[in-house]
Symmetry: C2
Subunit: 419 residues, 2 copies
């Protein structure tokens, strides 16, 4: 009897992670002789541990196809990092038991760096325990920090959203600057790497005076204020893109400025209002600020076509790699050319991926630390290329919610350790 | 010699105000026998007062056509309210002088309630001073608070953006709620009227548990927390749409909670973080929040097609009304049917429009104050109907920046009174 496959989504979701799920399931459905059914973890790997599995064969072809244009995690995701084998072997053993009980021979794990590591360990342990499972990692992260791949699915769409939104809001400020707002601050995600902030900096190519604050560059208040003033003196307005990871020389995040509400409670989050207030105090400019937060990573309505295509292709390739006998690998995007953008799918061993983070190269940021260089632009533009609009109905995108039929349990209960 | 027309944009800009400008200019260009040239005020009415006029005849037909898909104010706008005739007749007289000096016989003023009032006064005074000008007001405001028109251009596109973004972010939270974020708060514009917040409430039709906080309803913390808890108990997550105008029973805005930064300065703005922290303190749920700010009113990439069509039609109609001899009027949208949405352009006397604000009817909000009723939905859905994507180039929308050629000055300098 053909083995089943297990598929789970891990960590923060994206506008295109379901496109990868679509690639996995549609490809598996074409090979029923080899892959009996795709069982999905409800809420990610937790679904495997507690045996809460979704029977994807109960979903119609149309609904699976609609995953391609539906943002967020259709099966639920989770922030739950499996500990090291030494610290908690019971969880890994439980996974293998679940795989045995449900005749699972393929493990497709769709996530970022942590899940690549988990995937790697599962493949190692399954062999050791005598129940070999082919473990394939499907890359996904808006942070764009996985190594060995040209980029990570989810990033291109965030980048397109941030660049578009920054451009639009900048035109708004430009219109109003004579008598009203002169400084607009937009806060973007990226606690460790400035890839998303870099996308905001692209609006300079549209004539917008923009200053970008990266997590890679220590915040220099004096230099920053001088740059803002120079822009306002010259253009009458200035746009500021600040990464949530922007920090003071002592390592403290700007967002942790120590703001207190009326009750004296620490106010969480918000590098943008902090930056706006620094400008207001020093230079007196009227400001507005925005924090896009989840809007940016779920904005499927303005997804990048290259991103959607790659997310799908990586899911598809994961299944093809499994069918070709590969184990402990991750399919990757290999860039063949930037102009025009040409890419193909490759793959690397998970041993090379696990626990490696990819940061912005220093030469992608200008010497003054406030902008991006030509090589950075050459890297970014292909990733935001093309549109891929979802269908709309009654004025809103028509996203799918799956039936999510449960697979009957076969094993005793398992209690999760508290994180 | 055919009279020239003056056109200016007033107040906060929108995703579609340039579509109205496009309607005005394209229609004027078809009637060169009657309208010599359209002179636009640079930065709104200030451009008229200081004689900073833009010669739109220097803009190509293609660039004028591109206004239809370009957000914000292509000629610049301003927040500058002309005082009453008694308080500052000099400014009105200056306008008439400018009109005389540049042979202007038509005054097209594109804005909200304040500009409707200015437009009305200009038409009255010009007659009194013996230089009659036909003054036509072109409605525009994301606040949707002008009377006598089915809706105001700019609102439908904000509504579509907020409903779409709230839906997308809610799917994100739903994916993550098992182990992470349970409450997502999105802050929307609307200091006095809850029209934009109401658009966020539409996501209830997509199965999202959503609580909406309107400026029309006093904030009741206890009732609010009970509603959030009920949603999280039942659905494991909850979306909250909060209007920037949401306020305590004593009238104080939630956004003015008295947050202080590390320097002890009052932190400006942000009802969303205040609401998120109230939930966190009382119920302990992990939260995320977003403040869309200018992103929402400039989001031309997700504009509503009905909104774009109406914005254009109102600009076009303003010129047609002028050519038909009307004065002191505003073209309006008249709804003939909601399903399917059928509308036509009418017009009303400015005397009926000036200084009247349209609020949400109480029966558009549910009895508990947290949601919208069926009549409200029937009103809203047509306004977000249809998409009207801008062209894209290199991954970003291709918006136009006009040449903005200045008209030579003919009058002595005029010094603006300080607001």
């Amino acid at each position: 009897m053909a083995k089943n496959a297990f598929y789970a989504q891990s960590g923060g979701v994206t506008a295109v992670i379901n496109a990868s799920a679509c690639g996995v399931i549609q490809t598996a459905r074409k090979h029923k002789d080899k892959i009996g059914n795709v069982l999905a973890g409800r809420n990610g790997i937790i679904g495997a541990l507690v045996e809460d599995l979704i029977d994807t064969s109960a979903e119609s072809d149309d609904d699976i196809a609609a995953l391609r244009h539906t943002p967020a995690g259709a099966f639920g995701s989770c922030r739950y990092k499996l500990k090291s084998l030494e610290a908690n072997q019971a969880e890994y053993e439980r996974l293998i038991e679940i795989f045995k009980a449900h005749n699972i021979g393929y493990f497709f794990y769709n996530g970022g760096g942590d899940s690549a590591d988990t995937c790697y360990k599962v493949s190692q342990l399954s062999e050791k325990l005598g129940y070999p499972v082919q473990a394939i990692h499907v890359p996904k992260t808006i942070d764009n920090d996985l190594p060995m791949t040209d980029n990570c699915p989810g990033f291109g769409s965030v980048a397109k959203y941030i660049a578009t939104s920054t451009l639009e809001a900048s035109l708004d400020v430009r219109s109003m600057s004579k008598t009203s707002t002169k400084v607009f601050v937009i806060e973007v995600m990226g606690r460790h790497a400035g890839w998303i902030a870099a996308a905001g900096a692209l609006v300079a190519d549209h004539g917008i005076p923009v200053i970008t604050l990266f997590p890679e560059i220590e915040f220099d208040q004096e230099k920053f204020l001088a740059a803002v003033k120079a822009n306002v003196d010259r253009y009458d307005y200035c746009t500021i893109v600040v990464s949530e990871g922007c920090h003071w020389p002592d390592g403290k995040f700007l967002a942790e400025q120590g703001s207190r509400d009326a009750f004296g409670h620490a106010q969480l989050g918000g590098a943008a209002p902090v930056v706006a207030n620094i400008v207001k105090q020093a230079l007196g400019y009227k400001f507005h600020w925005a924090v896009a937060d989840y809007l940016q990573r779920s904005a499927r309505h303005i997804a990048s076509r290259s991103d959607v295509e790659q997310a799908y292709a990586l899911g598809q390739s994961a299944v093809q790699l499994a069918l070709a006998g590969h184990n402990s690998v991750m399919p990757t995007v290999v860039r063949k050319s930037s102009r025009p953008y040409r890419w193909e799918i490759g793959h690397v061993s998970l041993a090379e991926v696990a626990n490696v983070e990819k940061f912005m190269p220093r030469d992608f940021i200008t010497a003054d630390g406030f902008s991006i260089t030509a090589p950075c632009k050459e890297y970014l533009y292909p990733l935001i290329e093309g549109e891929d609009y979802p269908p709309f109905e009654n004025g809103l995108p028509k996203y799918v919610t799956l039936a999510g039929k449960s697979v009957p349990k076969r094993l005793p209960e398992f209690v999760l350790k508290k994180g």
